[in-house]
């Protein structure tokens, strides 16, 4: 016992030492109860034996110190370093009895040792799945989720109601530590302590201090009580070659001349938690590594990070090349790409480079100077053998000469031989269309897909060359998406931007001017037509996923999921643009045996609650042609689960997948009866794969098409999040011939989002980032940026459709942009 007391006092003194007096933040008048979860007898340890309780208490001590420094009246800790596991009711009673204003329970998560995301849970009213403390604990939870994610740089953050989180479609139970509180509260799981990479960081008190800071910031924000008044800086020092953290680094900060020595827990973490805002130079030295030096403008009231990737004392080699050595069918339109294992001295490489036979080219370097692109001007010759050589004069930025053949001995040149493909003069052809020509029962939710036999030239895929005409020969508004398949085909997806009209003929036209990547035109125009089905259905997007995946459970948390590889499986928001969405869901999957991933609907999507016969539930699914299988499942009045038919994913690109209630077949599932009776609601979906199946799927716009849907536009509007960023672009379309300044992208940061991280990036129709224009924290105000149509290598992008995305904090706006030559 004496030992515990001594350790406790030492810990408190140590944490107090870390925290210097702060500027006046005003949380006076508040009483806050901090609940470090679990106790010393709880056996939940990380891989090297660090118990969760100790982590929780250490974070609580930091938070306690920060809150006290902001003049909080009373901070009460429910337990301390020495506490055995007290009951949940006792933790609540401590808060209730003392009449505190707020309760916060600190936990750290554990699952399978692979995850590292941030989770914050607030209390929900059972069955109703709405916050028990609306506008209070849910608001604070979102602040904490965001700040913890920022402070710990976890993969993402998730904020959920407890009833929805613990259980399936019906919810499960409330967190015991929240459900009897007299005041709002929440429970945070900042990261996963069973993840080895996270546990080694959680051993470091300075790392935990960032969690304390993140929670403290949330209280300041919630109570409009000022800012931290300082600018924390942290980072991790990695081995550039292995990407593993380095122990024993000395970090010196200029001009303050503060020094930090990283610990020996293999986390590489350093921090200067209470800096004043300004520009600093950070210098890192580690025996056996090249020194690192960099500068950073440290912003006040934000977490600032500067990581270092230090090179061990080794020679540079070539890691990869495109084409590969002895490639015999390299496209003459392609660029040659050579990837080194470390940052190169670009001038030395330029001087050491030779090609045979000679051809004119431009050299392009990636920003980290590890990737070199040789861009032939204009193109290589068809059917020609080339040799690219980089001789031993080439060296890295530390003057280590090239080890060209990678045998560990310097002084060898690098050589790459390849042959370009023979000229392909065949014309691009349409192989298939969906719907097929004269199809007479097309659902109004369908997308139009056209499969070509070869890659197309994106510049010609414009609304002038591809269009759909409806009644009165009127063109309907569409998005045109192109995806090239691994087998060398092109899939065009035409996405109607307004629902199709039932019982109507549509004509699709693909103009002859469409060319392939060799700029060879189609032989003639391609036309086909289809008819929409006659039923009087309306279409309503129920969840466009633009606000995240809060309505859906993580498949890795489902007990139905099995035989998946957690390292390669994830369920995340992403961008892969369809219609006017700014977000889609991304499902990365990998099965090590015949397996299943289960995603249950945990949110409350009103129209999904009472489905009628002939209602159609659907989702747009970006397939990967993997032959994995997808199905919806439902719950009926008998509270049993029934599943729809499996849809084999044998397509590539976007496609609507749907299930028609009462019409399509239903199968018993998880205790079900094989029929849908009474009140029917969507309960989730599943993906089934076999051993070795791995890939990625995207999902967007869960929708309902049904007779009962009445006011499409009104409802659609209400489901769409309100924009606070007010994004505009001009001119749009943008012509490079007419305007040399570039397209102007205007956006506004509202006062409440001031200081948020801002990212403005351009994406092509494949969802690939083409150029990043802004990536920094900005104060409130209106900002204008210009994009001149160049990619990250300062090359003109092909004419066509692009998207620019403005992300401010957790708000995102995406707009379409057309670039003309």
């Amino acid at each position: 016992m004496k030992k515990f007391v001594t350790i406790s006092i030492l810990l408190i003194l140590t944490i107090s030492f870390f925290i210097s007096p702060l500027q006046a933040q005003d949380l006076s008048g508040l009483s806050i109860c901090i609940d470090p979860g679990h106790g010393i007898n709880t056996p939940n340890q990380g891989p090297t034996g660090l118990t969760e309780h100790i982590i929780n208490v250490r974070v609580a001590r930091f938070l306690e110190s920060y809150l006290k420094s902001a003049n909080v009246d009373t901070v009460i800790l429910t337990v301390d370093e020495n506490s055995v596991e007290p009951g949940l009711s006792a933790r609540e009673d401590i808060a209730n009895q003392n009449g505190v204003d707020w309760f916060h329970s600190i936990h750290h998560n554990a699952w399978n040792g692979k995850l590292r995301y941030t989770l914050v849970l607030y209390e929900e009213i059972p069955y109703q799945k709405v916050p028990e403390w609306p506008g209070e604990s849910d608001t604070m939870s979102y602040l904490m989720g965001f700040n913890l994610w920022q402070g710990y740089r976890t993969t993402h953050y998730s904020v959920r109601g407890d009833w929805s989180f613990y259980g399936g479609a019906n919810g499960g139970f409330n967190l015991g530590v929240l459900n009897d509180l007299q005041m709002p509260g929440e429970l945070s799981e900042a990261t996963f302590h069973d993840n080895p990479g996270e546990e080694v960081k959680l051993r470091n008190l300075n790392f935990l201090q960032f969690e304390g800071l993140a929670l403290y910031k949330s209280f300041l924000q919630y109570y409009d009580a000022g800012n931290w008044g300082f600018a924390p800086l942290g980072g991790i020092i990695y081995n550039k070659k292995t990407s593993k953290p380095i122990d024993g680094a000395t970090v010196v900060l200029h001009p303050s001349e503060q020094t930090y020595k990283t610990d020996n827990y293999h986390n590489g973490f350093y921090s200067f938690p209470e800096l004043q805002a300004g520009k600093y130079v950070v210098e890192v030295t580690v025996p056996g590594y090249e020194a690192g030096i960099d500068s950073i403008q440290v912003a006040e009231n934000e977490f600032n990070f500067l990581d270092f990737y230090l090179y061990p004392h080794e020679a540079p080699i070539v890691k990869n090349s495109q084409p590969a050595e002895m490639d015999s069918a390299f496209s003459p339109y392609g660029m040659i790409e050579i990837e080194f294992n470390r940052e190169m001295n670009t001038q030395s490489v330029k001087e050491a480079l030779s090609v045979e036979p000679d051809f004119p080219y431009v050299l392009l370097w990636s920003p980290d100077h590890e990737k070199l692109r040789i861009d032939p001007k204009p193109v290589l010759l068809f059917g020609m053998r080339y040799i690219v050589t980089i001789d031993t004069m080439a060296h890295d930025i530390f003057n280590h000469p090239l080890d060209g053949n990678g045998d560990g001995i310097v002084g060898d040149p690098f050589q790459l031989q390849f042959t370009t493909q023979k000229i392909d003069l065949s014309r691009p052809q349409v192989l298939a269309t969906e719907p097929f020509d004269l199809d007479s029962s097309v659902a109004i939710s369908e997308l139009v897909r056209v499969t070509f036999n070869k890659p197309l030239n994106e510049a010609e895929l414009t609304e002038n060359n591809i269009y759909i005409r409806g009644p009165m020969r009127k063109k309907i508004k569409i998005n045109i998406l192109i995806n090239n398949t691994p087998s060398g085909r092109s899939i065009l997806t035409l996405v109607p931007l307004e629902p199709l009209t039932p019982a109507t003929r549509y004509n699709v036209t693909l103009v002859k001017a469409i060319t392939d990547s060799n700029l060879i035109e189609m032989e003639k125009h391609f036309l086909f037509q289809f008819y929409t089905e006659e039923v009087q259905h309306n279409l309503l997007v129920i969840d466009n996923l633009n606000t995240g995946l809060n309505n859906w459970s993580d498949p890795m948390q489902s007990l139905r999921s099995q035989n998946f590889d957690p390292d390669s499986t994830s369920w995340l928001p992403d961008i892969q643009l369809l219609q006017d969405s700014s977000r889609v869901a991304r499902l990365n999957y990998s099965f090590h045996a015949d397996g299943l991933l289960d995603v249950s609907l945990t949110g409350y999507l009103e129209p999904f609650r009472d489905l009628q016969t002939e209602d159609e539930i659907g989702v747009y699914l970006f397939g990967d042609s993997s032959l994995t299988r997808f199905r919806f499942y439902f719950k009926d009045s008998a509270d049993s689960l029934e599943a729809g038919a499996w849809h084999t994913i044998d397509w590539y690109g976007w496609k609507a997948v749907h299930e028609k209630i009462g019409i399509d077949s239903i199968f018993a599932f998880d205790g079900g009866t094989g029929s849908l009776d009474g009140q029917i609601s969507l309960a989730g979906f599943q993906l089934k794969g076999t051993e070795g199946n791995e890939g990625v799927l995207f999902l967007d716009d869960f929708y309902l098409a049904g007779k009962s849907i009445t006011s499409i536009e009104t409802k659609k509007e209400t489901t769409r999040p309100k924009s606070h960023i007010l994004v505009q672009s001009y001119p749009n379309p943008f012509s490079r011939k007419l305007n040399h300044t570039g397209v102007s992208i205007l956006f506004k940061i509202p006062n409440e989002m001031g200081g948020s991280p801002v990212n403005v990036s351009i994406y092509n129709t494949l969802g690939q980032k083409v150029r990043e224009l802004v990536n920094q924290k900005l104060q409130p105000g209106q900002y204008e940026n210009f994009w001149n149509g160049l990619d990250e290598y300062n090359q003109n992008v092909p004419a066509g459709v692009y998207f620019f995305r403005v992300q401010v904090g957790n708000l995102t706006e995406t707009r379409r942009l057309i670039i003309l030559n």
Partner: protein
Amino acid sequence: MRKLFFPVFLFIFIPVSGYAQTTIQPAGKPQRISMKDHFFMRPSWAPSGDKLAFTGANQKGIWILELSSNDIFQLSDKSGAGYKFSWSPDGEYIAYRARYVEKKRARMAIEVVQVESRKIIKLSAKRKRLGLPLWGRDNKTLFFTRNEKLFSVDTGISVTKTLQKRFLPPENEIVFTRYQKLQIAQIDRPDSLEKFLKNTKVINPVLSPDGNYIACEEYVGDLIVLNRATGKRVDLGTGHRPAWSPDGKWVCYMVTEDDGHRYLASDIYISSIDGKRQFNLTQTDELLEMNPNWSPDGTAIAYDELQSGVIYIQKLQYEQN
């Protein structure tokens, strides 16, 4: 008002004596009290035993069950009112601490509501750090702490009926916590503080009806019964939220198990104050019984069930060994 369909409960006062030879067992199945779409918890008997008051989820509001008619009505919808509200000795009023939010900051106020008329008497301004209200024996004075200091206030209520002694709080004393430490004050001399367990933080202290014992939970420890005269403490083991039997010889409480996130089990226990006789009253695996409260005549214990929000009344059977 909603009619409840369960048999009328007849209270039969059973004299309890010689507890050393007595065992207490449930008498039959408990009566179930519920209302559609309502979640109830923390039952508390009126001193006269003819009413049962309870609160909703997160201590929001107060409901009253009239045991004679089985009617339930909502007495208050105030946030926080349901946490340890206090019946007046005459059973006509309930005092509570309401929670208000102004500019995101919580403020407390002590209020009294008349059960019959539902008229509210506001006894304090909205302030931070107000303690829970406790009635004085005179049915007029109300005590509460503010910024850790004990205050008394005259409610202005005139006593209209003769107060029966067995329904009254202990003679001239109240138990409360100050800086999370256990203290007892003389109600006519609030500055005369008697301190106990000086090195221990406690929660849920309750004074026995005769004023001789205090049952409370150590902050992160066990349930204890403290003899004020001798200072001797009896450790009853793991237990939470104690409540006294009207004769002061027994304590009922809940024993819970959890995994740090959710409750795994909970039952209602009864223990003699010397800890030598302990009974599990509920003994269910699937239900999470919590928050027991002994009826004034000693014949029943009311408690709630966490998952369903149902209140139960369990009649007791005393057997002499």
